[in-house]
């Protein structure tokens, strides 16, 4: 009994620490109608799990989560299929907790074919019920859409409060913040290594911009670029062996390659103007970047040796912060036009631009590793917040942190240490 009480207390603490409010708007086309039936077992725990799973599915833009209106089957034999018309699939199951662990046995039922699509047991530490829920959401998402879910992946961003700057890693929905670095000087441009085990970032802790690479496993970090002037915009190559970075020690901001240990620095642009924000293509053979070589900042592409430079964007006054989609077929960027920033994607083959947000102060977009969602920095009431938009632009989500000013988010790869 005492033990149960402590679990309950732990959960209360977790709820109190929940640092975000989430607002979802828009409706996707051809959304899959599903219901997440409350799990048999502790009602509060079940409610928390169902809430996280529901928010995950809604945020993807691909699901319509239908109310269960009091129908609560927990076993297949308890389902009256006539009750579930208009719902394609339902999730049912039970949750148990013992020895500081929770275990969810759940099944996904096809209500049209009246059969079980999958049954699985997911367990985890009792204080990480959100992670368990994200894994369930990933399994449901994958089974019903055919694409891998990204709800168990993480995001990195900078949170500023007064003089304090923190590089934070959090769950994909912004909960569970873990501080990686804290500094009274600015921090910028977190970038995940392809295996998700390290983050490169820019810190001003020594008075000017320098690039560090830090392990998320050991927290050990290494200063990899501290040339005179600014050292910034780190971007990992897909094999994790090297980074593209921006250095100014030979004049204007130019793009260089550097090994992850700081050795073998090679210059790859020679424009004499501003070249910055490099991003490797998924095949590692080309780089897209921001340059003002045409008079104002636009997006360009080049081969890894700096050859075959090609301008990609022509619309909008200025374009910034390009990032490849995971399939390499398009890129997302931030466009500045008529006094506001918005998020847009552009297809490489057709050069077709699609504006995804309506324009406010939307910056620094990055794709989720499944390519279905885009995370970016937005603003509400003069404060930086996290936001996401489905890659078709139909569903938008804003995540309001209770504290701090959030900037520079980047979605992690699938791989987690």
């Amino acid at each position: 009994m005492k033990w149960l009480l402590s679990v309950a207390l732990l959960m209360c603490i977790n709820l109190a620490q929940a640092a975000l409010e989430i607002e979802i708007s828009g409706a996707g086309e051809n959304q899959i109608p599903v219901s997440i039936v409350p799990f048999d077992g502790d009602p509060t725990l079940s409610q928390n799990l169902v809430k996280v799973i529901t928010d995950d599915l809604l945020r993807s833009g691909l699901f319509k989560v239908m109310d269960t209106v009091g129908r609560e089957p927990h076993e297949p034999k308890q389902i009256n299929f006539a009750d579930w018309q208009g719902v394609d699939a339902i999730s049912i199951g039970k949750v148990t907790q013992a020895d500081g662990k929770i275990e969810v046995r759940f099944r996904l039922i096809d209500t049209l074919k009246k059969n079980e699509m999958l049954g699985q047991i997911i367990s985890g530490p009792a204080d990480q019920s959100r992670k368990v829920a994200h894994r369930i959401a990933d399994i449901i998402f994958a089974r019903l859409t055919g694409s891998a879910g990204v709800f168990s992946t993480r995001i990195a961003y900078i949170n500023r409060q007064g003089q304090q700057n923190r590089l934070v890693v959090a769950d994909s929905d912004g909960y569970g913040e873990q501080t990686i670095v804290s500094s009274n000087e600015p921090l910028m441009s977190p970038s995940w290594s392809p295996d998700g085990s390290r983050i490169a970032y820019v810190s001003f802790e020594q008075g000017r911009a320098m690039i560090f690479v830090q392990s998320l496993l050991t927290q050990n970090r290494r200063l990899i670029a501290s040339f005179p002037g600014s050292n910034s915009a780190p971007a990992w190559s897909p094999d994790g062996q090297q980074l593209a970075v921006v250095l100014t020690h030979e004049g204007s901001s130019q793009i260089y390659l550097i090994r992850a240990d700081g050795s073998n620095v090679r210059r790859i642009t020679n424009s004499g103007v501003i070249d910055t924000e490099p991003c490797f293509s998924p095949d590692g053979r080309s780089i897209i970047f921001t340059s003002d070589r045409g008079g104002n900042p636009q997006i360009y592409r080049m081969q890894l040796d700096g050859s075959q430079v090609q301008r990609l964007t022509f619309e909008g006054r200025n374009n910034f912060s390009p990032r490849f989609s995971p399939d390499g077929k398009s890129f997302v960027f931030s466009q500045f036009n008529k006094g506001s920033f918005f998020i847009a994607t552009q297809d490489f083959e057709t050069a077709q631009l699609q504006q995804l947000t309506s324009g406010n102060w939307d910056k620094k977009p990055s794709f989720a590793p499944n390519g279905k969602l885009i995370l970016f920095a937005s603003e509400a009431s003069g404060r930086g917040i996290l936001a996401s938009v489905s890659s078709d632009g139909r569903v938008k989500q804003k995540m309001f942190s209770q504290q701090g000013d959030i900037h520079e988010p980047m979605w992690s790869p699938y791989n987690q240490p």
């Binding site: 600015p186 910028m188 441009s189 820019v202 001003f204 008075g207 000017r208 911009a209 005179p228 002037g229 600014s230 910034s232 915009a233 921006v246 100014t248 004049g251 204007s252 901001s253 501003i274 910055t276 924000e277 921001t290 003002d292 104002n296 900042p297 200025n318 910034f320 912060s321 931030s334 500045f336 910056k363 620094k364 003069g382 900037h407 520079e408």
Partner: protein, 178 residues
């Protein structure tokens, strides 16, 4: 002398509108009245009255120099522009001449940008503003070795507002004594 007066005037005007100026009040001129300079400049005649006049003139010049340097060490830029503006050239010249006359003095030029750009682009833009300001200082007699450049991009706005008045203050390079 005329040049210095102009510099003081321009500096005064700028100081008036740029109340945001951070830190290091008059720091570049802190090693002022450098005795070596006054000795070489002052020892022109043996006559006491002439000496006195020269000393007065020198004191005035030094005061004006110090005032120019202390009053304004910031230059400002239009949106997405990194070239020094004509209106700021006198300020840069006064600071460059100060550094030329005080070879042991060191300065750091800090470039900044407004928030209308990506953070990385703004870091690059701030660096160019700092470099161009450094070039102006060197053209006025300072040596490159005396000056270090740094960019804060949009990370350290003098005015956190989200409007043109704030942005104008943030598109800036500061010449700071090291």
């Amino acid at each position: 002398m005329n040049k210095i007066l102009t510099a003081v005037l321009v500096a005064g005007l700028l100081a008036g509108c740029a109340s945001n100026k951070p830190a290091g009040q008059g720091a570049l001129a802190d090693g002022n009245a450098d005795s070596k300079t006054s000795a070489s400049n002052g020892a022109t005649t043996g006559a006491a009255s002439a000496d006195q006049l020269a000393a007065d003139a020198l004191a005035k010049k030094q005061a004006a120099d110090a005032a120019a340097v202390a009053a304004s060490r910031s230059v400002f830029f239009p949106f997405d522009v990194d070239a020094l503006q004509d209106k700021d050239k006198a300020v840069v010249q006064a600071n460059g001449e100060y550094l030329a006359a005080h070879k042991t003095a060191k300065a750091r030029v800090e470039g900044n940008a407004d928030e209308r750009g990506s953070s990385e682009y703004n870091l690059a833009l701030g660096q160019r503003r700092a470099e161009n300001t450094k070039r102006g200082l060197v053209a006025s007699g300072a040596t490159a070795a005396q000056i270090e450049t740094v960019s804060f991009g949009e990370e350290k706005p003098a005015d956190a507002g989200h409007n043109e008045a704030a942005w104008a203050k943030n598109r800036r390079a500061d010449i700071v004594a090291k």
